[in-house]
């Protein structure tokens, strides 16, 4: 697992993808932070509340290659015949993307410290925000890795992930269109936005935490199943 994690990380930084991902993330989060500064407030939540939309565009960048490219270059033959389990293979891939994401999110710590230079921000809220962002990212990355495992074309993986994440972003809007209240309530339970906003506004619910974690776990597991199934094809 460590070997894969290491290779993926170096791959992010030898190809432009890692840099583009970080640059776009830093650019937008920086822009949001500028408006926080301009508003003369220590309330950093605006940065995080706007983040979701950006992630929908850039997380597919991180995950599009992770499985699809292996299949295309036939390097999956090396990984699948190596004495490692499918689980640790997928986990290595997931953790590499997640680590990249952590590097990106870590910039918000800098923002918080800048704010702290002017006045003390509400640290617990800041920590809650960062935690929320990490959990949201983990869930989205797991979904992206899963979609990447379904195809050997990274472009399809990217567009597919983008479409799915866009749907997830707008799921509240869809829920309000459904007239059947029962189905609407089911759909809105799946809302990433509502749960994420809880973190952003400083509410830490165990159920929200578990929601994102279980999404990540389920999709990592599904990715393993996809690899498993391919062997039987």
């Amino acid at each position: 697992m460590l070997a894969i994690l290491k290779r993926e990380m170096s791959n992010y930084f030898t190809s432009p993808i890692g840099y583009i991902f970080l640059a776009v993330f830093y650019f937008f989060s920086g822009m949001f932070f500028t408006s926080v500064l301009a508003a003369n407030t220590t309330d950093i939540t605006y940065v995080f509340s706007s983040l979701f939309t950006v992630l929908v565009f850039i997380i597919p960048l991180l995950t599009m290659r992770s499985m699809s490219e292996e299949k295309k270059q036939k390097t999956d033959q090396l990984l699948l015949t190596a004495p490692i389990s499918l689980g640790s293979l997928v986990l290595g891939k997931f953790l590499a993307a997640f680590l990249m994401y952590c590097i990106a999110v870590s910039v918000t710590v800098v923002y918080a410290l800048i704010l702290a230079a002017f006045a003390t921000p509400e640290w617990m809220v800041v920590i809650g925000n960062i935690l929320g962002a990490l959990l949201l990212g983990a869930a989205l990355i797991a979904i992206g890795v899963f979609i990447s495992s379904l195809t050997e074309n990274q472009l399809i993986a990217a567009v597919g992930s983008f479409a799915v994440m866009m749907f997830i972003l707008m799921i509240d809007g869809f829920a309000s269109l459904i007239s059947n209240t029962f189905i609407a309530s089911i759909v809105s339970t799946l809302s990433f936005m509502t749960r994420y906003n809880n973190f952003v506004t400083g509410i830490l619910n165990i159920s929200d935490l578990l929601f994102f974690l279980s999404f990540a776990v389920v999709f990592i597991y599904l990715t393993v199943r996809v690899l498993e199934k391919r062997r039987w094809g």
Partner: protein, 321 residues
């Protein structure tokens, strides 16, 4: 060391591998011979755990590849048909990655350097794989299989894409590896398998057609009965003369090759040696025999022969009536 029992792999209705069984003993070099699409790669992919069989079992050193995949895979070094290389890495980085992936125990630097020396890629160790030629890539693929010093090496067409000099080097390398490893290698080139392997399994359309030592197989296969003769003399008369030779099944004129010199393809009945008779008759009529060579068996001929062998035994009785 390797034990394969009733292995079958079907894709829908198509059976890629059909009920294959064989065992490979420790230290043996087994050659898998067959045309493209015969099921060689599929069998190897099953043995290495890349794909699963539809039915049947494969055991490596007593570990079933399905039940104990990690334990079995530890014993295998695999060079697939397309070397699984990360083109954006240098050779050194790639081999270090494989080393960590396989959780090899040997001291890393010495181990990798040693392997690079053996497959002769030391001079490209620091280069990016993308920029390497096919021959070098193939050897990096072989290096990758050797990492961790696995007991079993499974090599899918290891000499494809190499130039003749490299082919000989790799064959010699495989032979030396055979002293310490159990090897299965596939090829569609008969002389290659004969040169390297102790034992040969011929596979066609997913089935084993022959399983024998290389010597026995080549003995039965070089039972030559096809010749190309180059004879000086009027074409029609020579052909008539040739047709008079007993034991000669078919004469086919191949046309004029030099002024007044014609070539004929001769097919003798299996088992009958026509060469002396041919020489005698030609000298009687004073048609100089300028050349006589046996035609090399193509893989198709081998399959024809191997499949005919069983049917010709039966038809012999019928033919004498």
């Amino acid at each position: 060391m390797i034990e394969v029992k009733n292995l079958t792999k079907s894709y829908g209705n198509k059976q890629a591998v059909n009920d294959i069984s064989f065992t490979v003993n420790q230290g043996e070099i087994l050659g898998f011979l067959g045309p493209n699409g015969a099921g060689k790669s599929t069998t190897m992919n099953i043995l290495t755990g890349y794909i699963s069989s539809t039915s049947g079992t494969a055991k490596i050193d007593g570990h079933d590849i399905l039940d104990e995949p990690q334990e079995a895979k530890k014993h295998i070094g695999y060079l697939p048909e397309h070397p699984p290389l990360y083109l954006d890495m240098t050779v050194q980085e790639y081999l270090e990655f494989v080393y960590q992936l396989k959780k090899a125990r040997q001291p890393m630097k010495a181990h990798i350097d040693d392997i690079c020396r053996r497959v002769k890629i030391t001079n490209v160790q620091k280069r990016i794989i993308k920029n390497l030629s096919k021959g070098y890539r193939q050897r990096v693929g072989l290096a990758q299989a050797l990492i961790g010093n696995p007991e079993v090496l499974i090599l899918d067409e290891p000499t494809v894409g190499l130039d003749p000099k490299q082919i000989i080097e790799i064959r010699n390398l495989i032979k030396t590896l055979g002293e310490r490893h159990t090897i299965i290698l596939s090829s569609h080139i008969l002389p290659e398998v004969q040169a390297v392997c102790d034992r040969v399994i011929v596979i066609n359309k997913g089935k084993i057609v022959a399983d024998d030592t290389a010597e026995n197989l080549s003995r039965s296969l070089t039972d030559d009965f096809r010749y190309i003769a180059r004879i000086e003399g009027p074409e029609e008369e020579v052909e008539k003369l040739l047709n008079g030779i007993s034991g000669l099944k078919e004469v086919q004129p191949l046309g004029q090759k030099e002024p007044g010199v014609y070539e004929f393809s001769l097919e003798a009945d299996p088992g009958s040696d026509i060469r002396r008779d041919l020489f005698k008759r030609l000298t009687e009529r004073n048609y100089p025999l300028l050349g006589l060579k046996t035609t090399e068996l193509t893989l198709e001929d081998i399959f024809l022969q191997l499949t005919q062998d069983s049917s010709s035994d039966k038809s012999k009785d019928g033919g004498n009536q």
